[in-house]
Subunit: 253 residues, 6 copies
């Protein structure tokens, strides 16, 4: 577990995670200087590929924000590359079974805990020569819970050794459960399902993390006890900021 995660836990506060969907070292650097605890480079739905992710990891490295990454899928090749490139944590999409969670852990942990291949080319350069020996402790591994199947298998997933916690994707979970991908849904069933995941995770001693769109919702969820909350993606911030700029100008045009 990283220092920032440990520190926030000891403070009783949620980790605040920003989100990067734009493939650019410049936008990543802007976000890195904004003050998030952690920043996640999204290689799943974000428009970002591995080569650009490396530039973004460098850009984040110009400040003290902790860099995480979401791979496109639960594939060992890409997950290991992201870690070798310096990502200090993985948020893995679509972990629906304990077997898939074990596969994720295997990709993230060195033997004997897992099967991560050795070669931390950039990670050793920027995180120091002691990187590999402590990596199994410092790398954050979160499995996304975002389907009915994952809910059904949640106890087994939470029991997987080496998994630090779960990360709820409410859009996909809502789509899977009710056909509605609203990330901040007011639907009672959605609220209950999501809260249930948090309670089970924390009862199992795992980190409970949640994807949100807006800072207001993230704040409320942190208030309810989530350990780690995301909000404010770069893409959404720019789309909404540009719309607001034009709206204000046109107001009395």
């Amino acid at each position: 577990m990283n220092d920032i995660i440990r520190r926030r836990r000891s403070e009783g506060r949620a980790v605040l995670n920003g989100w990067l969907s734009i493939p650019s070292g410049v936008t990543a650097e802007v976000m890195a200087h904004a003050g998030w605890d952690t920043l996640t480079i999204d290689l799943q739905h974000g428009l970002i590929d591995l080569q650009c992710a490396i530039q973004m990891l460098q850009a984040i490295g110009t400040d003290k924000t902790l860099p995480l990454a979401r791979p496109a899928w639960n594939e060992p090749g890409q997950i290991m590359k992201l870690l070798d490139a310096g990502a200090m944590g993985i948020i893995c999409p679509m972990v629906n079974t304990a077997e898939e969670a074990r596969r994720l852990v295997a990709a993230c942990r060195y033997a004997p805990l897992g099967e991560r291949s050795f070669g931390p080319v950039r990670a050793s350069l920027v995180h120091g020569p002691g990187y590999w020996a402590s990596a199994n402790e410092t790398i954050l591994v979160l499995a996304m819970i975002e389907t009915r199947r994952a809910l059904d298998n949640l106890d087994e997933i939470l029991a997987v050794e080496g998994l630090d916690g779960i990360y709820v994707g409410p859009a996909d979970l809502g789509l899977s459960l009710f056909g509605d991908p609203d990330s901040e849904s007011e639907d009672e069933r959605a609220i209950a399902a999501i809260a249930g995941v948090r309670q089970k995770a924390q009862a199992a001693g795992k980190i409970a993390a949640l994807h949100n769109l807006t800072p207001d919702h993230a704040r409320r969820m942190a208030g309810q006890g989530w350990d780690f909350v995301t909000c404010g993606s770069d893409m959404r911030t720019l789309i909404q900021g540009a719309a607001e700029n034009i709206r204000r100008f046109r107001a009395q045009d």
Copy 2:
């Protein structure tokens, strides 16, 4: 003069110009879909070079916003490349004399008005085979007025044939006049100097354009009669939006 410029003039409204400092086709596309009349790719202070500008011109081309560009300097090589790549207008920095304004016009206009070299490789592809014959009419050419020297030479600059108008850079103008690069200064002297440029330009039948940071200021300036106003750069929007997201989250953290 472009259709959008002509249309806004006939409506008695200012052209609303957005600003691109981030080197990315993705952020350019987000901005292009937001609804600006025109978008300017800034190759002077923006972190953008020619190769990336071409991607951004393509991204802007996915919507109907008119693409403009600010070159790094008043150099014919770069200005002609931007036009060949499809920019439909040039906002040229640091035009301090009539000679410099003539040099700018020469780079933007085909003979006999100027000396633009023939080879509109992408412009013909995307703006159609009739591009070159009408380019001297449709390409917008604005000279930036942003130093004491430019003020001193303003009448001569405004008299240069082929120049469509001037674009005031208040940060540099304030720095040159008073040592203060505040773009939206409340200093009476700055306000007077800037207003004076607009009046002279319009009296000479030229477009009066102004750089602003915020939509509120841009709206006020449009209300005072400016023909063309900029606000809301992508970089500034993202920096402020990220700060605001964190501020809102921390509010009751």
Copy 3:
């Protein structure tokens, strides 16, 4: 099914699909302005990776051609990313069994039809806010039939719900059946095998699509009743055009 597919069917004409193997937004834009009904970005044999494909999707977006993509393999991570980035259809290589076809459909369709993860970051921006609700209907999903095993399993593959049709790769099919990767082979057995796939597909109410090299062959195949035909890859066009230029020059050198 996309409008262009539907329109061509109602006209009784084949969809004409161009092919992109060169990793460049500029060549993609040239092709987009040429007049193809659809253009496929080839991430399998083409020299194109995801990051460049996004630029190419933007370049295609400057005209009205419909953008499709062929992923490197039948992998959900890459397929979903291509759709999120704005591809409006998937031509998936090496679908040899009904299980593989179901896996393809699962990656392309939102619940309840499939398991596509929610996050259409660019697709919503450029195809509009209504994108996701209609995506299961508008996204074209074609499975490539290109091995003996696929022929053996063709009936089962055609029965998979959510699959719009099949796309025959004659080079691989010839290689698998006869050891000969000639795409436009005159071998009677190849001709019969390929025609047989078309008949079965159309009998099952599916789109029958065929890869060709030359426009002449594509035209003949359209005449035989194929619904969707490819020809004229950018790479092949440039190789042959350059050779022809030199040949003509040398003719009387």
Copy 4:
């Protein structure tokens, strides 16, 4: 003078030069394998910047074609960079006076002939450690003659020491003389003006080079005695090849 130039002269044949406007190492490599004597990377009207030109120089280096470059303008910084990156010749746009020709030569030749700064970082790597000592002999330097002013000053330009020859740009010359940028104009005046430049250049012992669009025109011009002829740009070849493919398909659609 390069070997290929010398060899073609001794054979009494024109050098055949291809043209690169597309910013891509892949298209450059396709062209490099097609069989041109020389290939020119166009940084003026082409959509190519320095960083991409380096990739293209590498791509051309995979075959034996000689790489040349056209800079965006007659600027020493860019010209020297292109030479350091391995270009073996410069075709410089818009050389209108002997002073401009001397400036061009100064940028291309080491002391005492010129003022080229020393640092052939890639050129030494790929052309060998003897590169610098022979560079003043092997680098080809051609000044573009493409305006009325250049015609007026032609004798003085041709007298500049260190200049290998001139390169006529008929589009710009036609625009400057008659307002018509047709590169292969049948206008008698254009034909006479262009032929006059060739005669003067060859009388002065200089290489006479001509830009053409089509191989047929290039062949005719070679037949008239031009030493060096261009045709068949990558961009034009792809645009026309794609159009031809669609035309052939639609013929009996």
Copy 5:
């Protein structure tokens, strides 16, 4: 088997393989001109993705070094793309079972030996039109042996038809066996395990290849009979060279 492999074998000498971890055509070109028999682009632990690998393949193509690649994982999509892009051999990570070795061979060999899909877009361009017919013979296929499981299954792996040899990764093997990723360990057990793999491979008529860090160790291993040895990665060379430069300067600072 490639000519260089065959030649070295006939000479009784080991193939000397260099290693590329830096994502850059320029560093690849520097390495290509240094004199390695082969150069491997590392897409597993190296900071290199497919798009950059294509540039690097072009850069290597400017000299006569044979280009190989290590994919991120044993995945057919990426392996086939690397071969289509011109890599003349594959060093595949983490092959632990005969089934995985067969999967690797299937991705690398055309039918009937394997299932490689047909479309050698760049390979045919640069290796000639005869490329595909001889590819099953010329493409080098090496399976990495780097875990206890692989040791346990070594005989079965070596028996897989179409596999040219094995490549020992001593860091991962040491980590798997003893928890120690020292690539050039003096531990007797490690030395014995590694030597055992070589003996078994050569007894089975396969190429025995070994990853090393330093040229001194590689030389010793070649002396012990390894057929193919790696040393001197670009990244390690630059890190150590820079440190040595500073150390020498500071020595008497």
Copy 6:
């Protein structure tokens, strides 16, 4: 003057400057972690353009080394862009006259000292909001002395206000004076000429900086009193390191 320059001066030690010719954020990051006082991105002879320089500035920003840049030429557009992008100093090539030195200073200093245009887009982000007010003091401005003309005008150049010092390029200077571009020449005349520049510069209260290839020579020059010495370019280090690796392997091959 930057802190590192000031600190070294107070210690009586030379600033140790590394050199970047390779266009890559990864190699820049490797160099940034090696321990140089300053690192200069070479946009003149290096294979680096502006867009890549921005990535390299980010990479350098992951450690505490001070980033400098050498522009391709003494052009205000490019110099200002490099400063806006975060370079903390400029080493400008080919400053031969006081007029050219004044032009350099004008590009680097804000009014009233110079004419630098206001817009420190990245510099403010990474160097803090106080950047602009202190920039005239913290930005290092060095003029390269590398021709006979520069020697002739040295006193006038050294008298230019706002210039921090001079930087001798011994290769160009040797080429200009004696036709020999040996950077570390033993020629007495070269040694005397170079030492003379140092003495004049220091007598005028300016920084005396020198380009070297090897750390041994740099150490000797620091010992002779130079204030700032360069050695160990990334390109040279990799070329020599690779050659040394192969030499050691072949030694007893």
